[in-house]
Symmetry: C2
Subunit: 279 residues, 2 copies
């Protein structure tokens, strides 16, 4: 069955909103992008769109209704807002208790609340991967490099680490080098975790510093994939290389890649592997 209903895209920063819009349009669906000012990229203007400010919750709902979009994808990065600086419109003020309630607890409860908020108003919230499955990493290597035996053992250790943390709303990535867990990601984000792995490798003779260790990335168990899908991109590959790691393993069907071709080309150039693994 071909989906022909309008698709709303609530767009934060980065390339994913445009990729999702392209995919939907290719499939013949009308789209309307509700773009968050200061976050969404100007390239979204290639599609029907409305710019809104964070806090204009009433306007988001009105815009989606007017564009007849009952299905909604929420995608893209949002800088953690300084709530004291956000001006709420009427819809925002009416929903302030819910919105402020979001700031308590782990990210998962926050994002589940966002979904509940839209669903309570008659929208269906879909994951980017449901609308644009070609954005998923998929199984197998990306680019021409392959993990060695030690890398494969390190990937297995990495899965064990994230698996062990699964019930605790933490552990979306870790770095393992020669069976030694170098870093575990919590609230700091993957980029910063990779930064500190680079620093950890400053000791020892330079000749010892050959490329080794892997970044393992996947959702936390129970992570709300509809609004919080892990992703890697060219920047991830650069940081993995700068940290002196051998490569990246991601969960094949639960990690997005916005720029697959650039990721592959960069991985080849920098000599790191990228591997999609079924869990």
């Amino acid at each position: 069955m071909i989906e022909t209903r309008g698709l709303g895209i609530l767009a934060g920063g980065g390339l994913f909103p445009v990729k999702v819009a392209e995919s939907a349009v290719r499939a013949g669906r009308p789209v309307h992008i509700v773009a968050i000012s200061g976050e969404a990229d100007a390239t979204i203007e290639a599609f029907p769109h409305t710019w809104i400010k964070l806090g204009e919750v009433g306007r988001i709902l009105k815009t989606l209704n007017k564009a007849e979009c009952r299905e909604l994808v929420i995608i893209g990065s949002v800088t953690r807002p300084d709530l004291s600086q956000v001006r709420f419109d009427l819809g925002g003020i009416l929903n302030l208790p819910t919105i402020l309630g979001l700031t308590i607890g782990g990210d998962d409860s926050l994002l589940s609340n966002v979904i509940r908020f839209f669903e309570a108003r008659g929208f269906e919230v879909r994951g980017a991967h449901e609308v644009a499955p070609e954005l998923l990493a998929g199984s197998g290597p990306i680019g021409r490099n392959r993990p060695g035996d030690q890398d494969i053992a390190d990937i297995a250790t990495g899965w064990d680490v994230v698996e062990a943390l699964g019930g605790l709303d933490v552990g979306q990535a870790c770095v393992v080098a020669r069976s030694h867990v170098l870093a575990i990601e919590a609230a700091e984000g993957t980029d910063r975790m990779l930064g500190r792995c680079g620093e950890l490798r400053q000791w020892g003779a330079k000749s010892f510093r050959r490329r080794r260790g892997v970044l393992v990335k996947c959702p936390k168990r129970g992570q709300e994939l509809r609004v919080d899908m892990p992703a890697i991109g060219p920047r991830t590959i650069e940081l993995v290389a700068a940290a002196g790691l051998s490569g990246v393993a991601v969960e094949a069907s639960a990690v997005l890649i916005a720029e697959r071709d650039r990721v592959a080309a960069l991985a080849d150039k920098l000599g790191v592997f990228v591997l999609g693994v079924e869990r």
Copy 2:
């Protein structure tokens, strides 16, 4: 039974070597400190001592034998050495395969090898806490501040995190704030982990930034407590306060405190709690 045999102390940096020596001498035991140049503090010279360089493995063994110390405590910090810069003496060269073998795998296997190395040469390796149990945190509060209800819930979550990681040779500390796991320590050390928690709190309105969250610190499960006991000190308290946390919970019978009085005074001054918890 009072122990009267000589105690050797292989001393790295910090105050613990002297504290262990003081405790042993108070108990009537002769001590000899083998102090690592560039690491051990000059205050160790108050006791019978010999300065050695890292790599002078033969000299360490000879010194301990000459001082008739069959029991050995290995304590204090050692900057991770650049092996290309270490000059090994004959004992070191003969044992080079063992010593280089140490660099593979997690810290636990490294330190277990150190113990095996000395035990194979007839020494008994003792934990600092066995010789000087008063250095243990012990059960209950240190200083006058107490955790609140949210802190107690966060401590429980912190134990869950380190417990979950126990089998993976990682997870000696974490930070939890309002049920949200902010950071998990892997290879970077507690100080750096606390540093990034401070950075994570730079977002949001200043008025929201009241003190909350706890550092939970304990050994990894199976950690070799004889040579790798976790410790906190005044610097930990400063970093906990700087990160905006409410306090610290440590495993009562498995974490050392070198300067208990200074820790208590500083915690009181900075408004953070320090709590020893039985696991």
